[in-house]
C-alpha cells in the first residue's frame, strides 16, 4: 500500500519535472529525475513535516545539496501543497519564486539556498550539529550528487559530521554515475564511494535508488544507528523514467522540447 502510494507520487513528481522544464526551456532534467524516488520516500513517509506549517520548529529538514535539481524539490513541494501547483510554470522566469537554484527566502519549504555544489551538505551538517547542541530530535536529510563529491568541502563536512557523532544526519548520494562532461569515472574518478564514506566515519547503506522498499528500509536502519551519521549510497539512473534521457550526460542541463515533453509524459502515465 505504502510502496504503491510513494511510487505513484514519484511518477507524479517526474511528470511535473518534465512539464516544468518544458515551460522553462532550460534547466536540469537528468539529475532531477534520478532523485524522484528518494525524495518521494522522504516527503511521503520518512520526514516529520507539515506543509501547512513550513516554519514549524519540530520539522525535519531536507537540503538539496545538488541544487541544480531544483525542479525535483519544487515539484514535491508543490504536490505537497507548500505552494500552488501552477507556480511551477514560472520556473526560471523573471520575477518567479522558483529560481534556477533553490532560494530559501523565496520558496516555502526550501530549507537552504543551494546551487554551488558541496555547500548544501556543509550547511546540513551545521543544522544537525545545532539540533545536537540543543538536544532537539529533528533529523536532517541531504541529497548529494556523485559529481558533487569531487568538491573538497563535501569531505570537510563529512569529517565534521562523524567527529561530532551526528546520528541525526542522513546523507543520500544520488549515485547516477554521470556529471556534466561525462561519466564521473572518466572525468574525475571517485574510486569506491562506499569505502570513502566508510573511512570518513559514516554508516553506509547501499540501495537501488529506484526501489522504494529498499530506500524505506535504509531510512529505517539509519534511525537505529547511534553515534555516527549515515550515508545511503543510492544507485540510480540519470534521467530515470524517460527512456530517451536515461543514462545520457547530454540531458544533464538541456530542457525537452514540447514534442519531447509529450513523449516523456506518455511514458510517465
Amino acid at each position: 500500500m505504502e510502496t504503491k502510494l510513494i511510487e505513484d507520487k514519484a511518477k507524479e513528481i517526474r511528470r511535473e519535472i518534465i512539464k516544468m522544464l518544458g515551460e522553462a526551456k532550460s534547466g536540469h532534467p537528468g539529475g532531477s529525475l534520478s532523485g524522484a524516488d528518494i525524495i518521494a520516500a522522504l516527503y511521503y513517509k520518512e520526514m516529520k513535516i507539515d506543509s501547512t506549517k513550513p516554519n514549524w520548529e519540530e520539522r525535519d529538514r531536507f537540503i538539496l545539496s545538488k541544487g541544480h535539481a531544483a525542479p525535483l524539490l519544487y515539484s514535491v513541494l508543490a504536490i505537497k501543497g507548500y505552494f500552488e501547483i501552477d507556480v511551477l510554470k514560472t520556473l526560471r522566469k523573471t520575477g518567479s519564486i522558483l529560481q534556477g537554484h533553490p532560494d530559501m527566502n523565496k520558496v516555502p519549504g526550501v530549507e537552504m539556498s543551494t546551487g554551488s555544489l558541496g555547500q548544501g551538505f556543509s550547511t546540513a551538517v551545521g543544522m544537525a550539529l545545532s539540533f545536537k547542541v540543543y538536544n532537539k530530535d529533528n533529523r536532517v536529510y541531504a541529497l548529494l550528487g556523485d559529481g558533487e563529491c569531487q568538491e573538497g568541502i563535501v569531505w570537510e563536512a563529512a569529517m565534521a559530521a562523524s567527529h561530532y557523532d551526528l546520528d541525526n544526519l542522513v546523507a543520500i548520494l544520488d549515485n547516477n554515475g554521470l556529471q556534466i562532461d561525462g561519466k564521473c569515472s572518466e572525468v574525475m574518478c571517485l574510486g569506491s564511494l562506499r569505502n570513502k564514506w566508510r573511512s570518513f566515519g559514516f554508516h553506509v547503506i547501499e540501495v537501488d535508488g529506484h526501489n522504494i522498499p529498499q530506500i524505506l528500509s535504509a531510512l529505517d536502519e539509519a534511525r537505529t544507528i547511534k553515534g555516527r551519521p549515515t550515508l545511503i549510497l543510492a544507485k540510480t539512473i540519470k534521467g530515470k523514467g524517460v527512456s530517451f534521457m536515461e543514462d545520457r550526460a547530454e540531458w544533464h542541463g538541456a530542457a525537452p522540447s514540447m514534442e519531447q515533453v509529450a513523449l516523456a509524459l506518455e511514458e510517465l502515465k
Binding site: 522566469k93 559529481g147 556529471q179
Partner: protein, 311 residues
C-alpha cells in the same frame, strides 16, 4: 549587427593556440562545454585536463603547472573561479606571481536562468584587490581573441572575465589590444562614458541617442581594469569634466570604484555609476534581467543627463 558570445571567441582562440603553442595546458572543472575549453580539447586532448568539480584544486594544479614553466589556462564559471577558489588564487597564484591565466565565463547577471547563485557580480572587485593580478574584461568577440593571444605573451597572473550571452561585435580585425591601455571608441567633449564588457555596446548606443539631443559623449572601453589606464581616463575627463561608469558588476569594487579612486586622487569631477546596485542576480532571460537591473541604454542616458547637471 553580428553577435558572438565572448566565451565562443575564447573557444576559437584556444583552438588556434592548441594547434600552435606547445607550452599551453588548458584546465577545466566539469564545465568544458559551457566555458568552450572543449574546443581546445578537440584539437589537443593531451594538453587538456579536466579536474572534476573541484575549483580549488583547479587553481592549485594550475599554479603547479605554471611553476614548471608552462602556461596553464584555468577555466570555470566566474562565480566558482573567483569565489570558491579565491584564497588559492591569492596565495598560490598571485602571491608567488605565477603565470596562470584564469579565464572565467558566465559572469554577471546575464548568466540568466541559473539565477543569483551563479551570477558573479563581485569577481572584478575580488580579482582587482589582489596584488600582481592583471584584470581584463573584453567587450566583444574580436577583443576576446586578441586578449587571449596577448596574455600568452605576457608573463604573470591574469584574470579574464567573459560572458555567456551573445554580444554585438564592435571591433574589426585591425584592432590592436594592449594590456593596460583603454580604447576610445567614440570621441566627444561633453561627457566621458567609460564602460567594460558587454556594457560597452550599450554605451555606444547611448552615445548615439545623446547625439540626437546635442550631447557629445566620449566612449571609452576600459577592457583592462588593472593595471588601470589612469592617463587615458584623465586626458578624457580634462576635456569633458564629468564621467559616467557602466558595468555589469556590483557598483562596489568594480570599474566604477576604480574610476572614482583615480579621479578623486587626481582630478575630481562629478561621477555617476550604472551597474548592479548592490543586489544579487536573479533568474530570467538575460535581456529581461538587463532591464530589471537597469543595465540599459536608457539608464546610461539618464545618468549622463544627471551628471551634466552636476558639472
Amino acid at each position: 549587427m553580428e553577435q558572438i558570445a565572448t566565451r565562443d571567441a575564447y573557444g576559437k582562440a584556444l583552438k588556434e593556440l592548441g594547434l600552435s603553442n606547445d607550452d599551453i595546458i588548458v584546465l577545466d572543472a566539469d564545465l568544458s562545454k559551457s566555458t568552450k575549453t572543449a574546443e581546445f580539447q578537440k584539437v589537443n586532448p593531451k594538453h587538456f585536463i579536466n579536474i572534476g568539480i573541484a575549483e580549488q584544486n583547479l587553481m592549485g594544479v594550475a599554479a603547479g603547472i605554471a611553476a614548471t614553466g608552462k602556461i596553464p589556462f584555468a577555466s570555470t564559471f566566474a562565480m566558482f573561479a573567483t569565489g570558491r577558489a579565491f584564497e588559492i588564487i591569492r596565495n598560490s597564484i598571485a602571491y608567488p606571481n605565477l603565470n596562470v591565466k584564469i579565464v572565467a565565463t558566465h559572469s554577471g547577471v546575464t548568466v540568466g536562468e541559473d539565477g543569483g547563485s551563479h551570477a558573479a557580480i563581485e569577481d572584478i572587485s575580488l580579482m582587482r584587490s589582489v596584488p600582481n593580478m592583471t584584470v581584463i574584461v573584453p567587450a566583444d568577440g574580436v577583443e576576446t581573441e586578441k586578449v587571449i593571444k596577448k596574455i600568452v605573451e605576457y608573463k604573470g597572473p591574469v584574470y579574464v572575465r567573459l560572458g555567456r550571452s551573445k554580444v554585438p561585435v564592435l571591433y574589426d580585425d585591425s584592432y590592436e589590444f594592449e594590456i593596460g591601455k583603454f580604447s576610445t571608441l567614440k570621441v566627444g567633449s561633453d561627457v566621458t562614458i567609460i564602460a567594460c564588457g558587454i556594457m560597452v555596446s550599450k554605451a555606444l548606443e547611448a552615445a548615439d541617442l545623446l547625439k540626437e539631443k546635442g550631447i557629445k559623449a566620449e566612449v571609452i572601453n576600459a577592457s583592462t581594469i588593472k593595471p588601470f589606464d589612469d592617463y587615458s581616463l584623465l586626458e578624457s575627463v580634462k576635456k569633458t569634466k564629468c564621467v559616467v561608469t557602466v558595468e555589469e558588476h556590483n557598483i562596489y569594487g568594480g570599474l566604477g570604484s576604480a574610476v572614482a579612486e583615480v579621479l578623486c586622487q587626481n582630478y575630481p569631477v562629478p561621477l555617476e555609476m550604472v551597474g548592479v546596485m548592490d543586489v544579487f542576480g536573479e533568474s530570467g532571460a538575460p535581456e529581461e534581467l538587463l532591464e530589471k537591473f537597469k543595465l540599459t541604454t536608457r539608464e546610461i542616458v539618464k545618468k549622463v543627463e544627471l551628471v551634466l547637471k552636476r558639472k
